[in-house]
Amino acid sequence: MNLSMNVRKSFGAFNLSADISVSGERVGIFGASGSGKSTLVSMLAGFLKPDNGEIVLDGECLFSSSKRISIRPEQRRIAMVFQQHSLFSHLNVKHNLLYGFKRCRPDLRRIDFDALVQVLNLEEQLDREVANLSGGEKQRVALGRAILANPRLLLMDEPLSALDDSLRFQIIPYLKSVSEHFGIPYLFISHSLIEMRLMTDSALVFEKGLMVEQVSSEQLARNRMGQSQVGYINLLRLGRPLPSAGLFAYPWGAGQLLLSAGSERDDSLAELSSKDIILFKQHPEAISARNLLQCSVRSLFNSGRKVGVELECDGNSLIAEVVQDAVDELKITPGSTIFAAIKASAFRMLPS
């Protein structure tokens, strides 16, 4: 996807001014409520006309105030998944899924219905009424419906914010399948750092109607660590656990990690907040935390009032977060050796 947007839009006191040039398959738009991200997406989808400017997607001009071009939403081939699933309540699951597929030109249809149903795990749901589906099932149907329309770009406008935390992480692998299985580039809109980390490679950051930053999702997480309640989320890819008394022992680099919860899968993803890592200058004599890792400090970075400490532990990277006083007291400098203690219960398994 190559997207260029140079648009202005005013609603009363709110002004949106966006000058964007972005390419990539998994791009995020990050910002708090009222930052203008949904307005931007509405203009890209064609629901809202910019006051002036130009929108060009993959070389095609979708809107230009100077050239008087405004392609209708149904002709843009930009599908959308909303915060609320917005399924058609008068159609069952199968007919919801096929709504866009039937309207797609036959020569543009490249997504196979059966393959999609299998990937989204909807085989058993096809004949059900949408009113009888759970929140997660509804969002999967909405996602499938958008994919089957064979769009050239999929917009996901906070698709997880209406779901509770456990359901949110169950849906993420399905959302990621959009680019991984079906090769459809997407713009993922969210105010959640963890969703940005999991779903996107790069992010456009909006504040008060202006784009203030265009960074990698990794860099965004580092930059925002200090202001975030959850800190920086370390994502750890883990293999199959080894037998261990009461805990799950995962080989991790040259060492291992002990987790209180785990799965028997060959490939798991776990998250660990930078706030859950305690640093020691010297090896503690006795400690209740089940993981004590000897690490070397790779780098330090400032984020708000916090300092991020990038550690290299058993060949893997971890980021811990401390205050400046701790950095001074422990004399943490790049290259120094430090011990990181992590409770077994601090990890959270994410659905792969």
């Binding site: 989808a45 064609g46 629901f47 209708r72 939403p73 149904e74 843009r76 081939r77 930009i78 599908a79 959308m80 909303f82 609320q84 917005s86 058609f88 309540s89 008068h90 709504y99 866009g100 309207r103 797609c104 419906r145 958008a146 329309a149 769009p151 917009l155």
Partner: protein
């Protein structure tokens, strides 16, 4: 016989009138309701008020102006003369035209409410899935507004059945042409035929009750909506 042949003729005429008016208003009222529900035009308030006028106007006032409009010097009368249809007052089709105007809000307002309750989102979703506005109207908006159509049709039908003032002004009292059930009851009372008036009134009472019962059974909230209208 419970009802005499004149009564049965007037009931048949009333049902015929109500069916035709409901069908015409389904076709005419749907685009009006859609426009009122979706438009951001400044004229929306004016059109909404015009559509709602029969709710507050005395039927004799509406009937009087319709009579003038359909008369030989009125615009409708002039048009029907040019088209070779002849004069509409005191004919069945004159009655139909008057009833369409009189029952317009009973069709339009429930439909407008139904369309407004759908909101923008389903139509936006349909657009991102490749549906044109017309396609989205027929495949998304109409099915989602189905309960509103049922409510509007029942209310329009029932309201047309119960018309009196406008019918008398436009149609007069011609057996088989414009003597509908309500006029027939009036005739019986005028002639001091209370037993026959009572039987006709009872038929109308039971009919009205059954219509409202059907509406309740279909959708408990429908009457609330009708009252709001």
């Amino acid at each position: 016989m419970f009802l005499d042949s004149g009564d049965i003729q007037s009931i048949t005429l009333t049902i015929k009138l109500a069916v035709i008016v409901t069908l015409i208003l389904l076709v005419v009222g749907t685009p009006i309701a859609w426009w009122l529900a979706r438009s951001k035009s400044r004229l929306k308030g004016v059109f909404g008020a015009v559509v709602a006028m029969p709710l507050v106007l005395p039927p004799s006032v509406l009937g009087f102006y319709l009579l003038l409009a359909m008369g030989p010097n009125g615009p409708v009368g002039h048009l029907t003369r040019v088209l070779g249809i002849g004069a509409l007052p005191f004919t069945f089709w004159g009655l139909v035209l008057a009833s369409v105007f009189y029952s317009l809000p009973f069709m339009v307002q429930p439909l407008q409410n139904a369309f407004e309750s759908i909101g923008d989102r389903p139509l936006e979703v349909a657009a991102t899935l490749g549906a044109s506005p017309l396609d989205a109207f027929f495949t998304v908006a109409l099915p989602l507004a189905r309960p509103g159509f049922l409510t509007a049709s029942i209310l329009t039908f029932a309201h047309t059945v119960g018309e009196f003032g406008v019918v008398l002004m436009i149609g007069g009292n011609i057996p088989g042409v414009s003597r509908v059930a309500s006029v027939q009851i009036y005739d019986h009372v005028e002639a001091l035929e209370y037993a026959q008036a009572h039987r006709m009134a009872a038929v109308m009472l039971v009919f009205s009750f059954l219509v409202l019962l059907a509406l309740y059974a279909w959708r408990p909230g429908a009457l609330k909506m009708a009252r709001r209208d």
